[in-house]
């Protein structure tokens, strides 16, 4: 029976993998921007706390994980990658809680219906398919993709563990294992799972941090290069404004672009800016040369005028002395 369930899981997974339309897209969910979103989250918490049955708790957590995935997809559609990443993380936590609750239900001897196991297994397969489909999308930012692969990896671990748990149960039923051996095996399986999921989480976290620092560094480099190339003249003011505009644009689009596109855009824009600045510098040079020429010409004009003045005054004084001499001669006569 359990093998049947597992084959259903695999089968469903394969079927869903081939599907082009997202399963989650077709289902309705409350949008994270809705006025009633917080109320719905509080309702989830209360419902979970009021539920006594551990297998019911597992079903609820699985349901919440599916909700978070739908919501994160909605956030991605809106270009809000930060919220999408947070929701993905919550989806991962809920998937983990679901697995833990189911395990506790089994250990505590709670009767778990075949229907419950089947629906949970199907739901896991559906999530794997949905996450794989999300990863193929090109419009999703790199950091969100890291989150998605982390959740995917985690769900795969849970799925694998469910398979191993089923094998152990089968061995217990067939008397291949004693009850004590079964418990010990289950315990080591849980520990292994915890280690794997912690490792997975920390890997995802460090990748995200790396991405963040890379973004910061690129921004700082851009700012520094801008400062160096900025020339304090009126001609460069429009360029500075353009730089600021580009920076603003980059900041706005920061979350929506993958790092590759982001870097490409930065290099293109910086090339364009350098070209602009070079042109402006050439223009400045030409204008300065013209100004110098103009100044030289004016100087020459001035000099010429002064010379003319001097010459005129010399002529006048010569005329005067000649007249005086003439007068003196006339008197003598």
């Amino acid at each position: 029976m359990k093998k049947t369930i597992f084959s259903i899981v695999l089968g469903t997974g394969l079927l869903l993998n081939t599907g082009q339309v997202s399963a989650l897209e077709t289902e309705k969910s409350i949008h994270p921007d809705s006025e009633l979103y917080d109320t719905s989250r509080v309702m989830e918490e209360i419902e979970y706390n009021l539920t006594d049955s551990l297998s019911d708790k597992a079903i609820l957590q699985d349901q919440y994980a599916s909700e978070r995935l739908k919501e994160s997809e909605a956030a991605l559609e809106n270009g809000d990658s930060e919220t999408a990443e947070e929701l993905l993380e919550e989806a991962q936590i809920s998937t983990e809680k679901s697995a833990v609750d189911l395990e506790e239900a089994e250990v505590s001897g709670e009767e778990i219906s075949e229907e419950t196991e089947k629906s949970l297994a199907e739901s896991l397969a559906k999530k794997i398919a949905e996450l794989e489909l999300l990863l193929t999308r090109e419009d999703i930012p790199e950091s969100a993709k890291i989150g998605i692969s982390s959740v995917l990896k985690h769900v795969e671990i849970i799925s694998k563990r469910a398979e191993e748990r089923m094998n152990l149960q089968e061995q217990l039923v067939n008397a291949d294992l004693t009850e004590e051996e079964y418990k010990n095996e289950m315990k080591s399986l849980n520990e292994q799972f915890k280690e794997e999921s912690e490792l997975n989480r920390s890997e995802a976290k460090s990748k995200r941090n790396e991405l963040k620092t890379l973004r910061k560094e690129t921004k700082e480099e851009r700012k520094n290069s801008k400062k160096q190339t900025t020339v304090n003249s009126d001609e460069t003011l429009p360029i500075n404004e353009e730089i600021q505009e580009v920076e603003r644009e980059i900041e706005e689009n920061d979350d929506f672009e993958s790092t590759d596109n982001f870097e490409e855009k930065i290099s293109k824009e910086s090339e364009e800016l350098i070209e602009h600045e070079e042109k402006a510098a050439e223009q400045n040079k030409k204008q300065a040369e013209k100004a110098i020429e103009r100044a030289k010409k004016e100087q020459e004009k001035k000099e010429r005028k002064e010379q003319e003045k001097v010459e005129k005054s010399n002529h006048k004084s010569l005329d005067k002395t000649e007249d005086q001499e003439q007068d003196a001669e006339d008197l003598e006569d």
Partner: protein
Amino acid sequence: MSFKKRLASFLLSIGMVAFAGCNDNTTTQQTVEVKPISIQEVDKPAPLYENEAINLLVTQSGDWQVDTEARSYNLEVTLHTQQLHAIISTVSTTQNFAGVKQELLSSVGDVEILSENDEQFSFQSKLKSPVRTDVFIKESKDANYHLVIVFMSPVSEYDRNQPEMKDLLNHIHFD
């Protein structure tokens, strides 16, 4: 005028002034004492939760206790008494009953609708130990928001909790 007559008129005038002064004091005291005491003030129970900014008042009733108060897009207060939990949320007046119902139902997964009318709907989860949810929407002509009141309890406890639900609903005042 004789001295006696002058003295008598003088004493009479002093007496008049003294009487007028005493009379004035008495009036002031009476004003203080006669300050009207509202019957409502005497009967009104202590507030369990009060938000003056939006004129929302929940008065003490039964064993209800306030758990949390959150303000993000809207106000959200959670309360409980034993196994019964309540959420009081504010929504804008642009939200109508149909909208609230649609949004809340889309967030709860697979449920069974139990009842619905113009201002209330109820549903329960399809689990081994189901939880029942009752949602009420209260509108006021004077307030610039609607109230959404959600009650949640295990189905097994529902009948016992019904009076507590009604009690709290009657103790919520807003305008």
